[in-house]
């Protein structure tokens, strides 16, 4: 085994949605023909954030909540790298909320795949920003009273260049969405609904399966008003698919200092 091969054994719970996400990720990488040597998987801290260690790729597993700034730095330093962030809902929507807002604004060519299990897994079951109202935990003993964060609506509101949702319970769909995100120019947000068998007894695989429905074929992701309506849908039916595509140029293309050879090739 080469010293830098991926970890063969995961630290995930049997039955966790993360496994499917990992499989879809591998499939999407194959499908899009991404050169793994030029692929950097970035994450923060959490159960989902361990994902990069289980991929054959370069890995930057940084701080909780700070995957996006690190990924941005990586992409700026070497824009020839494919930079994928695979991390949790707490990581990207909680601690990392400001960076998400600004990655959208910056439209940096980073793909954010958010393993959204609507709970803090690694720290044993506290509410995450996407936990449903009423969700009871050892901290939220009377149930969550905060309005869940809607990452998709946020993306539409901030004219994010790519906003999509999929779920680990629809692995092919997930692979397709990941591939679309990778192919898209600029920043891409892919929210991936994922069961956590250990701490989320509400939003189970069954729950997601019953609700997640693909957007109709005539859905137009460039229609911002329609996208906003789609982004707000939650409940008995949860749309999955490409919710929105903002018409934007990427940060890399708008930054003159990034024309030419990668910055990382300059230096002593």
């Amino acid at each position: 085994m080469s010293g830098t091969a991926k970890l063969k054994e995961t630290a995930w719970c049997p039955g966790c949605g993360n496994f499917n996400i990992l499989k879809s990720l591998d499939a999407a990488i194959e499908k899009t023909g991404v050169d793994r040597k030029r692929l950097v998987m970035v994450s923060g801290i959490g159960q989902a954030a361990k994902c990069p260690h289980y991929t054959d790729a370069n890995v930057f597993n940084g701080l909780h909540g700070r995957a996006l700034p690190a990924a941005t730095g990586i992409k700026i330093a070497n824009r020839e790298l494919t930079v994928i962030v695979a991390s949790g809902d707490g990581d990207m929507y909680g601690e990392g909320g400001n960076h998400l807002l600004n990655a959208m604004r910056r439209n940096i060519g980073v793909k954010a795949f958010v393993h959204n299990n609507q709970v803090y897994g690694l720290t044993k079951g506290q509410a995450s920003p996407t936990s449903e109202p009423g969700f009871v935990t050892k901290i939220q003993t009377k149930g969550v009273v905060l309005e869940p964060l809607n990452p998709l609506a946020l993306g539409v509101a901030e004219n994010c260049s790519f906003v999509a949702r999929s779920t680990s319970v629809m692995p092919e769909h997930l692979t397709a969405m990941m591939a679309e995100a990778i192919k898209a120019d600029g920043f891409a947000l892919l929210d991936i609904l994922q069961p956590c068998v250990s701490f989320n007894k509400i939003n189970t695989a069954k729950w997601y399966k019953e609700r997640c429905k693909e957007l109709p074929p005539d859905y137009d992701p460039t229609d911002r008003q329609a996208a906003f309506a789609a982004a707000l849908k939650w409940g008995d039916e949860i749309p999955v698919g490409i919710i929105y595509r903002g018409a934007r140029r990427s940060f890399e293309d708008m930054t003159t200092a990034l024309a030419g050879e990668p910055l990382s090739s300059l230096g002593g």
Binding site: G3, L7, H53, N58, V59, N61, P69, L263, L266
Partner: protein
């Protein structure tokens, strides 16, 4: 022979432009200059001042009194009139009373083309009072207002002439240093830091604006095209710290600039750089705290915080340049050390040093890249965190033949996270061996002029004032020297030996003598006296000499 000129007025009146203009003009004429700024945290109003000290010999700091005061407002006149030296002269744009010149500067400016040229009137007055010919001043005006068009040039020149004319009756009232040959070039501390970084090869600069660090950021933005640097404003300092970690991982020399509060927000990212062994550089430009404190003033209060910042234990290298030349050199050295030891390096400056300007030998502006110590052809079994004797592991970049894996969790040599506690210990020992290595290579202090019975201990920007104090005290026969540390962490291992048997008086811009405490923590000294200042203003040599007790 020397003189200190002070322009004072409200924010927004052009005090700074006039000061910059005078500084360049004096330098152009062949005088030695040292300029400093003192301003409030507001955009208009208040009392700001700009000092230009001139001499026929090299200067190292500012002075508290001035020989010429040109005040643009009654408020600033009142604030500064008490600091005019005996034999000095003060002028006010308005009614100054019997002991100073009442000159209608605004009136003159309006005549010349507009009230906003009042600074140029003041500059003309200053030139006349000093008995200098305004040629150099006009030359600088041409340069400064070139971009604004011929009208601006002509207007300001006219303003200066009107100023000179108003003060003609007092021409040469001040004994003045004689210009000789134009020597060196003018740089501010900010420019020197920025130029050091640019020539060292910085490629990614990511910061959130914060006084007094913004000057270096602005300078870097202004030369970004020339050196091909991405200068990106972050949404917050946490982004900045983590973004440069990512950039450094991917191979770009990367830096951030900040001040105390922003640095506090970066403490977690600093620890990350320690764990991932990333060569990041932080310029920490100090101002008085705690919290927002005095945002536009100077201080040296963040030393112990910087040395111990970040949770867990990891190596860190901290420079504290004492001069503008050192600001350039130490910034370069920070990039060198960060890459050599693969760990964060910090350059500590402060408002005094970043805003100060002085003529020094021209700083090389060509790229002179520091070695990034990159393993270009990693072998098939390459691992990022190989445990080596030195503690330094060969560093490859992602995108090459080997995967580069890193984790903020404890990790095995291959960079993957581990909970093997034996591996943990080996990895922590490996990292800390780099600290030992860095300690072994730490810079000794500069003794000026040579080790003596009594040592004025200092670090960072206190160099100049301390050096002048030593000159003053030695002229009085005191056996005093300065020991200035331009590297404050790790502390040079020889410090204990070099200071043994000498009386140490620590001269610091804080209220607890932090550097002396640090030296004691290292076991280098046991007793010390101190001369401390923490009101937001820099020391002056005369002040230190006055406060020194044998």
């Amino acid at each position: 022979m020397e003189a200190n000129i002070r322009i004072a007025g409200e924010a927004g009146q052009g005090v700074q432009s006039a000061g910059e203009l005078l500084t360049s003009a004096f330098h152009e004429m062949g005088l030695h200059v040292f300029s400093t700024q003192s301003y409030m945290s507001r955009i208009r109003g208040g009392v700001n001042s700009f000092d230009i000290r001139i001499s026929d010999e090299e200067l190292h700091s500012g002075r508290e009194e001035c020989d010429i005061l040109a005040a643009l407002t009654a408020e600033s006149f009142a604030a500064e009139i008490g600091k005019v030296s005996r034999g000095g002269v003060a002028a006010l744009d308005g009614d100054a009373g019997p002991d100073a010149l009442s000159l209608d500067m605004t009136g003159a400016a309006k005549e010349a083309g507009g009230a906003r040229m009042v600074g140029s009137v003041a500059a003309g007055i200053v030139f006349a009072l000093l008995g200098y010919d305004s040629a150099a001043l006009k030359k600088m005006m041409e340069k400064a207002y070139e971009k604004k068009g011929p009208e601006a040039v002509a207007g300001n020149e006219a303003a200066a002439e009107k100023g000179a004319a108003m003060a003609e009756g007092h021409r040469g009232i001040i004994r003045t240093p004689q210009p000789s040959a134009r020597s060196g070039e003018l740089y501010s501390g900010s420019e020197a830091v920025g130029l050091g970084a640019a020539t060292a090869g910085v490629k990614v600069v990511c910061s959130y604006p914060m006084t007094p660090s913004t000057g270096a950021l602005t300078y870097l933005a202004s030369v970004a095209d020339r050196y091909r640097i991405v200068v990106e404003q972050a949404e917050d300092e946490i982004c900045a710290a983590n973004l440069i970690c990512g950039a450094a991982y991917a191979g770009a020399a990367a830096m951030t600039t900040t001040s105390g509060g922003g640095f506090a927000l970066m403490a977690e990212g600093l620890s990350l750089a320690g764990m991932l062994e990333l060569p990041i550089v932080i310029m920490l430009s100090q101002r008085p705290g705690p919290a927002t404190g005095l945002p536009t003033r100077t201080g040296q209060e963040d030393l112990l915080f910087a040395v111990h910042a970040g949770h867990g234990e990891f190596p860190k290298i901290i420079y504290a340049p004492g001069t503008i030349g050192q600001a350039y050199e130490m910034t370069r050295r920070a990039f060198e050390s960060a890459h050599k030891f693969q760990t964060p390096a910090i350059v500590m400056t402060d408002q005094f040093l970043t805003d100060a300007k002085k003529n020094i030998p021209e700083l090389p502006a060509e790229l002179d890249l520091v070695d990034r110590h990159i393993e270009k052809a990693p072998s098939a079994d390459y691992v990022r965190y190989a445990v080596t004797d030195s503690g330094v592991s060969p560093r490859a970049l992602p995108g090459g033949e080997a995967f580069v894996v890193c984790a903020s969790d404890e990790h095995t040599e291959d960079g993957h996270l581990t909970e093997d506690l034996t591996a943990r210990k080996a990895m922590q020992d490996k990292r800390m061996r780099k600290a030992a290595l860095a300690a072994a290579e730490a810079m000794p202090p500069e003794f000026y002029p040579e080790p003596e019975e009594t040592v004025l201990l200092c670090w960072g920007s206190t160099y100049g004032p301390c050096r002048e104090a030593v000159d003053i005290l030695r002229a009085k026969g005191r056996k005093v020297c300065m020991a200035h540390f331009a590297q404050v962490w790790p502390v040079w291992a020889g410090a204990g030996g070099a200071l043994e048997g000498r009386r140490v008086v620590s001269v610091e811009g804080n209220s607890t003598a932090q550097f002396a405490l640090l030296l004691r923590q290292c076991g280098a000294i046991s007793q010390f006296d101190s001369i401390l200042r923490y009101d937001g203003l820099p020391f002056t040599g005369a002040e230190i000499a006055r406060r020194f007790k044998s």
